[in-house]
Each structure stands twice: as structure tokens, then as C-alpha cells.
Symmetry: C2
Subunit: 136 residues, 2 copies
DNA sequence: TCCTTGTTGATATATTATACTATTAGAAAA
DNA sequence: TTTTCTAATAGTATAATATATCAACAAGGA
């Protein structure tokens, strides 16, 4: 046996699925700690990271912020609100195979995948910004 | 007048251009400190960040790592080596206008731009990995 | 039930970046 | 040139995120 099936792992994975909307490790911890009051933050970080490495979850890295985790494994992309940090799905049928092929042709690197994150404003922050602009 | 033209700013911008290959703030600091031994790291971080905000430089955010800065302002993309962290340019003529338009159609967010980073292995790390695999 | 060792909890530590504040030094005006 | 105003700096403290370390624990096969 190589990896053991612990209550912590089960609960963490379940929490990501229940939270659904791209929780950070901290948010997962807050959810899990309700059921396992003694769980350590380190255990949550450790397991989220290894689950992402093993393909049970997707990790969405946010420069300058906490990583988010996604229970949805089908290929899709994400939009990040530059104001409040909200993260949402965006389903495009970008031809990823083509993009990878093109990238490999243009580079000496051996390219395996890519991360595409859109930046913008969520409807809420957009409304606020527009309202603020009206005052000027 | 709003922003002042300091020796520190000039030297930092010059350093990014001289280093050319996507230095991190730390690498810029190491270069700048040769000419200005008393400069503070905080000054380097502060100015790189504000220059990126004002469009004098491009910031390449790397989740889990330090941001890199690029003196090249023309639209292009980057490849990150997952082994050693090396970062290189990759010039694709992705139709960014189309991609933004498509993303905006598919999302309730007001999307302004996006970050596209490819992940793979640099030739050096690839060779090492291949050599290692031969042993098995 | 025992035994091996993967896993946990707790804490220390690393890394990157920003906040804070007294002091310095651009640059406009006198 | 000198004065004046205040943006910017140096130095340090602090924040935020994540990993390293290790003794104690527990999963699960024998």
C-alpha cells in the first residue's frame, strides 16, 4: 500500500466539492474544521497540494494571492476579479491541442500545458466602479 | 508635478533593460545595488510594481514564486520551466482581440486582459530528465 | 493482535511583498 | 541661489501564503 485512506483526506476532498466555487486552502480549512476540530492547517495544505499533483483536483495559482482549488476536472478556464479577487469559471472551447502544438513549434521548451487566466471586474465591482465614475 | 525623477527609479528601469531576461525583483535589486549600494529592497519592489501599473514594464506573475518583470512591451507570452523556474519568451500571434471578445461573451465579468503562461521543461532540464529515464 | 510506515498536528521556518515612519532630496517658486 | 513643499527613500516591521521538521499516531496488511 502506498497512500492511506484517512478521514482527513476524505473530508478535505468532500469540502472542496461542497464549497464548489474554487475555495482557497484557508476556506477549505474553515469548512473542514467544523467536522474535524483538531485538524491542522498543514494537513489541509499538504493534502490539497498532493491531490492536485495526483489529478484529483485542479489547482488555480493566483500570483500574489492564495491558490484556489477546483473540483471540476473538465478543461475550462477562469476569470479573476482584479478588485475583490472573486474567481469564476469560464467555459471556452479554445483548441488547447492546437495552442500547445503551436507553442511547442515556437519554443525550445518541451511544453506540456498552460495556464490561462482572464482578468477583469465582476459585475458587482464593475457597478461600483461605474457609479464612482459618474460622480466626476 | 506628481512623480519625481529619482536616481533610484532611473537605475531600476535601466537594470531591467540590461538584465533583459525577465528578472525578479531580487535579481533587479542585486544589479541595482552595485551602482547604488544603499538602495533598499523596498524601493526596488515599490518601483517595479508601480512601473508595471503605469505600463513602463510588464509584470509576469508566477504563482508560488516571485514575480518577473519584462522590459519588452510588445504583446507576447511566456514559458516557465516547471523544474528550474527558467522563464522565456514565446512569440505567438494569438488573436488576443478575438480571445477577449469570446471570453466577454461567455462571462458576466467585464474582462480586460488575460495572462497566458505555458508550462514545460527547458532543454537543459528535459535532457536531464530523459537521461534519468534511460536508467530505468 | 502486532508491526510497519504513511500521515497527522503543531510549530518553526521560508519566501515574497507590503505597511509604516523618520529622514532625505526632487523640483517648483521666491 | 535659497527656500519651501512634499514625494520618495531607507530601514524595519509585519503580513500572507506555503513548506519543512519531527515526535506521536493510526491505517491496514501479516
Amino acid at each position: 500500500m502506498e497512500t492511506r485512506n484517512t478521514i482527513q483526506k476524505q473530508t478535505i476532498l468532500m469540502a472542496v466539492k461542497e464549497l464548489a466555487n474554487h475555495p482557497t486552502a484557508e476556506q477549505v480549512y474553515e469548512k473542514v474544521v467544523e467536522k474535524l476540530p483538531n485538524i491542522s492547517r498543514a494537513t489541509v495544505y499538504r493534502n490539497l497540494s498532493s491531490m492536485a499533483d495526483r489529478g484529483l483536483l485542479h489547482r488555480i495559482g493566483v500570483p500574489g494571492g492564495a491558490d484556489h482549488y477546483d473540483h471540476t476536472l473538465e478543461t475550462h478556464y477562469h476569470v479573476l476579479c482584479t478588485e475583490c479577487g472573486a474567481l469564476e469559471d469560464i467555459w471556452l472551447q479554445e483548441s488547447q491541442a492546437d495552442l500547445l502544438k503551436l507553442a511547442n513549434e515556437k519554443s525550445s521548451f518541451s511544453i506540456q500545458n498552460y495556464q490561462l487566466v482572464f482578468h477583469g471586474m465582476c459585475p458587482c465591482c464593475k457597478a461600483k466602479a461605474d457609479a464612482l465614475n459618474q460622480l466626476h
